[in-house]
Amino acid sequence: MKKTLLQVLLMLFFCMSALAQTRQLTGKVFGKKNETLIGVTIKIKSTGAGTATDMNGAFKLNVPASGNVTLVVTYIGYKSQEVAVTNQNDIVINMLEDEAKMLNEVTVVNIGYSTVSKNALTGSVSSVTDKDVKDFPVASVAEALAGKLAGVSVQTSEGAPGASIKVTVRGGGSITGDNSPLYIVDGIQVENALSILSPQEIQSIDVLKDIASTAIYGARGANGVVLITTKSGAGQTPKVSISTYLGVRKFVHELDVMKPSDFVQYQYQIATGSQSDLDAYNKEYGAFSDIDIYKNYPYIDWQQAVFGRNALTQSETINISGGTQAASYSFTANNFKEDGIQLNSGFNRGFVAFRYDTKLSDKFKFGFNIRYSRQDVIGAGTSSTGTQSSNRLRNAVRFRPFSAPGLESQVDQFDPTYATYTNLTSPLIGTYSITKNNYTNQVIGSVNAQYTILPRLILSSVIGITSTDNPINQFSDSTTSIARQYGDLPVVDLSASSTLTVTNSNTLNYNFTVGRYHNITLLAGEEINQSDNNSQAMEIKWMPADITPTQAFAAIQKATPPNGSIQDAPTTSQTGTRLFSLFARASYSYKDKYLANVTVRRDGSSLFSPENQYAVFPAGQLAWRVTEEEFMKKLNLTWLDNLKVRLSYGEGGNNRIGVDLYKTLFTAGSKSGYAVSQSVTPGFAPNALANPNIKWETTISRNLGVDFDIFKGRIGGSVDVYKNNVRDLLLQQQIPSTSGYSTQIQNIGATSNQGVELQLNGMAVNTRNFRYNINFNISFNRNKIVSLGDDQYGNPKSSYPVASGGINGNDFIAQVGGPVGQFYGYVSDGRYELSDFNATYHSSSNSYTYVLKPGVANDAAVALGAKYPQPGDMKLKKMSTTGDSTLTTADAVVLGTSQPKFFGGINQQFSYKNFDLSIFMNYSVGNKEYNANRSEFTTQYLYKDNNMLAVVANRWNKIDANGNVVTDPKLLAQMNANTTFWTPPTGQYILTSYEIEDGSFLRISNVTLGYSLPQSFLSRTKIFSKFRVYATVNNLYTFTKYSGYDPEASTRNGNPLTPGVDYAAYPRNRFFIAGVDLSF
């Protein structure tokens, strides 16, 4: 296999040597005011070879030495025209302005394995081009894409450098599988391409949204297909573009926490529970009578200390492109360096990319792409899907907000005793306690060739290889909880995974016309896709106490296990997938009026047993260009330029599922080992109770769309309505544990997504000096779980609980009839007021005791750590009708979902003379955000000496001015006339409606103001063809009611069932940038 590839590559390189006979044509292009036009594209119609005009509006082009040539001349804002060249050597071309075309610059749309003009498009496709992302000085395209495409949700999980970005097309249908779309870059599959590529590399992005469009990608198409075309070289003279910017990131929004005085008051209140706690309090904070001194203590803002730095980012990109009549090239190199706002975090990346396209003859085209990138995400961040204590935001929020004599050492040095009883380490020590480097080194290479067998019969082949290495080094110093499990000695985790993906597709495309009006295009193709993954991991414990991270990574053999202990064995594993597909597409158009498209793809996958290996995915599309009808033309509707109605139906599969689910395998490991003697003999364990009947998850989609252009192209847009049903969803079915297994994966689930999308583009003002362009999109999606399989009695299962992990237990529910990702918990009812109790006076102790009045809900078991409710305790609503007024788990209810009612973006671009301004906003309305930080930061649970959110300062007060505990109801009523918050509960963290907030937002995500030096000035410099300076603010402001750092945070993205959790998310930043783009 490898050998074959090599041979093919060698052969293709060899082919490049041949070139044809040409002569040189020169010319000049003028605009409507008779000015010279720079950067006009001139192409030879028959071959596609071309060039662009230079700063004098002149061009040189090699044309065939003999015969007539037709040139196609295109320029933004002008009608493209064809110019016939006979035997002239020098020509003059005058361009004619065309407003209608201005909005339809993306006239060619990639539909997978071929492109069509926008007019001929029959499916639902959203596109952006380089100009939509170029103003975003960000590391990855994905960041620039949020809100730009109707029906495509782009969500950054948190603010950390290199944070994962979730892209979902039309809601996503799988519950257990991955809902990421398929990414195809220049014809080959590249995982997470949007997160890898930088905006500067992008030529265009087309997102196929309806399954009828993605059906050409069959088994991989159910989650949408993102087709990315990278920039290719153009023009004849080499052009060098340099783009560089420098920016600073700032912490935007802080969580308001208690100040020193409130903190100590609170500590006193929780210490009054027992004498030993009071003694501890007195030792730590002094006598209550002296509590006033804390009013003057300087407040230490730990969040500022950890996240408050001016985090610099710099980026330099250089692009060199050019070509000859027969060949073009483009070379890009980038260096990007970002400091995270959190100390000890950052992101570095460098890449070089080279693209070469050549036309060896009229019949044979050939090109290749190669890209090498290297990135390093630094820092372990703040969130973790592990336990509560592995989430590290806590230290910066909860650490004692002041320093006091005798306590300095807890700030500067690690104090294990303090860590044990507070669950805290000093924020600064905590931030530096883990050193993590997450490297990704990647090579993406592809070769493509096109051969015109007959004038209308074209054979195309693409071979692509993606090789990714992902080593992760992590060092946990002796203050971390893992080190404390292993003798207070540092722990090193080294892991590495590598993936090699090979794609090859070969297609035949035949286009012909029957009679005068029947145009038919046939495509047949074959594709293979294979991926091989290797991974290894080792954890080395008991490193020397004082070793530095770099020393530790360099010499793990320095670890010395204590007597009787051994290191865990290193692990390696290997997985792989194979996909073989055959596909065909027939497109038919009659007079460009009636369009039809039929696709069928047959996929075979190694993920399934030989009996279930193959599946066929059919699709059909119809479109009717109403405005082409004679009767419409007769109506003479001058305002209506174009109207097209589209209808489609298709089936797609989702093969983003685990490997080997269908067969029972043994995996070896020391966890399944046994100590026969003084060592552990590894043993085999069955990986799961395999289900040999596993088959494809299938999505059926229907789409109805309308495209229109009105008012001479001033306004264009499209509306799409769709309904997607997914059946045979793979779910882990609970099975009797007496089988030796707890679950088995089965095709038992079903979901549906339906929605409406609207995309509008408008040219509000278009004068010579001032232009104002506005793009708007809005998407509505309703997602629903239709089936979760049967329960143990054979009845349809209605729901099952899901834990997001880290806090609050089972805080989600997967429920038939509800959307994926419903928050599940108790309904907050404020706090117990005195009126909820009958107070009894005890003269012996001169105190009152309180008993709940009959019928008042008692949440002791679920919320208060089994302590009987007292006035001021957190109160929850009784929701179920069963049982008495005692709350149980049956009283948990659905509290909302993070799925928005609608979301989208508004993009405005202005230009005035040489100034340009763009303002981009994205929004989401009706989504709830689960602020899990609130749970942790308002609940006492087991821990004293922890700070809390500022709201806790206004809690139920039971301590009088002398530090005595008050039980008299009259006094308590007076003391709490103005307090609003409850006593922080001592029970386990639980999810209540208090943590569920409105997550709607309108974000001004990008504002850019640029100035380009005038062309007249530039032409005098004789060096520069473009010189633009700009200033940008990313994430300028977010309008939201959400109280946490950011309403878009979603730190539990690994499981599709637990979106919208803001737990210990790394805060988002505001990013100020100044940059220069220049070309010469």
Binding site: V8, F684, P686
Partner: protein, 608 residues
């Protein structure tokens, strides 16, 4: 275009298409080299061994058999679990009132079934393997592995039966089962199947001396001893699920005969297994790499190593000698407490087993040996100080003794007495053997060996208490004799007498006074003898009334002795002795609620 280019490009296209399509069927068969299909595994003896190790794996770890050893097997009249009652934790188990949601039950319950499944896969795999087509004669190695797999499956089923009564029986891999939610099978039927399997296993396994493996894996002797134990359990009283009463099969003597025969076979091979002349050395052997068991009294141990929650255990850290965190050894022991009257069951001056079995002492922060109070003595067969581990390490690689030769002798004595309704001379001699070792150096003090059936039976009941304390044997002995209710009542009455200083406890002091002495590991009798109690070493000071005041003589610290025992510790609902036990009900545990949820055909055990 040049012809060569055309040729090349056509060749290019053809080649790629051909390369990838011609072998498409094969192309889609991907086998990861990290995993191995089960069918392939059993075509290699080495892989078969690895698969078998996977079935052994469930013996140890946090959810392994030490769960039964240190939690489920308590309380009996020897030991109980420390702490205060909660229906949801280990004390709920020990107080005989575990809730179906008790957290100590489901993990190890499921683990046993994981072990059964893995053993079943091995059994089927070996039986259908091409290597085993001509049976054990053709491939004795595969035969031995089959024997081990059968023994493991039997052990796992036995543990389930003696703790839950009737359980779901699994004799084939789950993938071959048409339905997984099946009702329980009567414990008697499960054990009949197990006894047959073990008979087969015996034939397949070599004696210890012919086996390449240590006694952490099954040998013929271990299987025979295990079969004897299971036969006695089968021949005893078992929970009958439909009537929820403890009943004994009419043909129970047949099972005693099985046990009798197995024990006789073993006793005829003293070259393979025999009593260790030094009682204490059996348990020291479990703690270290230095084996002090030359006679191989330990017939089957659960291996422990690796310091993790899958292959190691917390014996000596969770239970055993209480050692202060700040001592030279680091924290150890304290999870299991001695029933106060158990201390006084032993002959105080002659029986060497007492100071091995019970820690009257504990180790303080300065690594000094000090006294415990009466209700805080711990189980002595597990001691962190016997291991080489120090510091905070919780996993000490201490092996668990499943069965040892002393049990064979006592089972034999019991079976002979039962079958003949009279102690045969062989039975008497077996009991005497046990006592002779226990009374080493004091053989003149050995009590007379009874000569009639009931007295001899009573002697066996007592001897097993003294011999096997803290080895997770007592509760199940009482269960099969149906003596749980009466022995618990008897123990409570004794505790009352002890609390009140009534005979035979009239000389037991209210308080003891102790001075710390340096702790140096030697033998337990010597160690305890070196303790500095006012009025003499424990053997003296704990058997005379002493000063009777809480004020200690100068230099001594007072420890409550009789004073420490209160009504709360006898019949209280928080720290009482087996307070919630109800006969014909609480002998077995409730099925964990999660198990009932997924298997609706299992009905919860009566009384839960």
């Amino acid at each position: 275009m040049k012809t060569s280019n055309i040729k090349l490009s056509v060749a290019f296209a053809c080649m790629t298409i051909l390369t990838f399509t011609s072998s498409c069927k094969k192309y889609l068969q991907y086998e990861s080299q990290s995993t191995i299909s089960q069918a392939v595994a059993f075509t290699s003896t080495s892989y078969t061994n690895t698969a078998l190790i996977g079935a052994y794996s469930l013996l140890n770890g946090d959810a392994g058999l030490t769960k039964e050893a240190t939690i489920w097997s308590l309380t009996a009249d020897d030991f109980k679990t420390s702490g205060s009652y909660s229906a949801l934790d280990r004390r709920g188990v020990s107080m005989y009132a575990a809730d179906p949601a008790n957290t100590e039950l489901p993990g190890a319950f499921n683990n046993l079934y994981v072990g059964i499944e893995r053993a079943n896969i091995c059994i089927k795999g070996i039986q259908t393997s091409s290597l085993y087509s001509s049976g054990p004669t053709g491939n004795p190695e595969m035969g031995r592995y089959l024997g081990e797999a059968l023994a493991l499956r039997s052990l796992y089923h036995f543990v389930l039966v003696r703790n839950w009564g009737s359980v779901v029986a699994q004799w084939v891999p789950s993938s071959d089962q048409p339905a997984l939610d099946v009702p329980v099978t009567a414990g008697t039927a499960v054990l009949d199947h197990v006894l047959d399997d073990l008979k087969t296993a015996e034939g397949l396994l070599p004696w210890r001396s012919d086996s390449p493996f240590p006694d952490t894996r099954f040998s013929k002797g271990a299987v025979k001893a295990l079969r004897a134990r299971i036969a006695l359990f089968r021949g005893g009283y078992m929970m009958d699920k439909p009537t929820h009463t403890m009943t004994r099969s009419a043909n129970y003597l047949d099972y005693y005969k099985i046990a009798d025969q197995e024990c006789a076979d073993l006793m005829a091979r003293r070259d393979e297994h025999d009593l260790n002349p030094v009682y204490e050395n059996i348990f020291k052997t479990l703690h270290s790499t230095t084996r002090q068991d030359p006679t191989n009294e330990l017939m089957f141990e659960i291996g422990a190593y690796g310091g993790g929650s899958y292959t190691d255990d917390k014996l000596g850290y969770y239970n055993g000698l209480r050692i202060n965190t700040s001592s030279a050894y680091g924290q150890g022991g304290g999870g299991i407490l001695c029933i106060p009257t158990y201390y006084y069951e032993f002959d105080p001056s002659a029986d060497c087993r007492r100071d091995v079995t019970i820690n009257v002492d504990q180790i303080d922060a300065n690594t000094m040996m000090i006294m415990n109070t009466l209700t805080n003595m711990t189980d002595g067969k597990f001691r962190k100080s016997w291991t080489t581990s120090t510091g905070i390490n919780q996993y000490l690689s201490v092996h668990w003794p499943v069965i040892r030769f002393a049990d064979v002798l006592l089972m034999f004595a019991e079976a002979e007495n039962e079958i003949n309704q009279n102690p045969t001379p062989a039975a008497q001699s077996a009991l005497l053997e046990i006592r002779t070792r226990a009374y080493v150096g004091h053989t003149s003090a050995i009590p007379a060996i009874p000569t009639d059936y009931p007295t001899f039976f009573q002697a066996i009941v007592k001897e097993r208490l003294l011999e096997f304390g803290g080895e997770a044997i007592r509760k199940y002995d009482l269960m099969r004799w149906n003596l749980m209710g009466s022995k618990f009542a008897e123990t409570r009455a004794k505790m009352e007498a002890l609390m009140n200083g009534q005979a035979p406890y009239n000389n037991v002091p209210l308080y003891v006074y102790n001075k710390p002495v340096p702790y140096a590991v030697s033998n337990s009798t010597q160690e305890v003898g070196s303790m500095n109690n006012y009025g003499g070493a424990p053997n003296t000071s704990l058997f005379q009334p002493g000063l009777g005041t809480s004020t200690a003589p100068t230099g001594y610290t007072t420890y409550n002795w009789r004073k420490d025992l209160s009504e709360a510790a006898i019949s209280g609902t928080s720290t009482g002795f087996a307070t919630f036990f109800i006969s014909n009900q609480k002998e077995v545990f409730p099925f964990p609620s999660t198990v009932l949820l997924q298997n609706t055909k299992i009905i919860q055990n009566y009384g839960y």
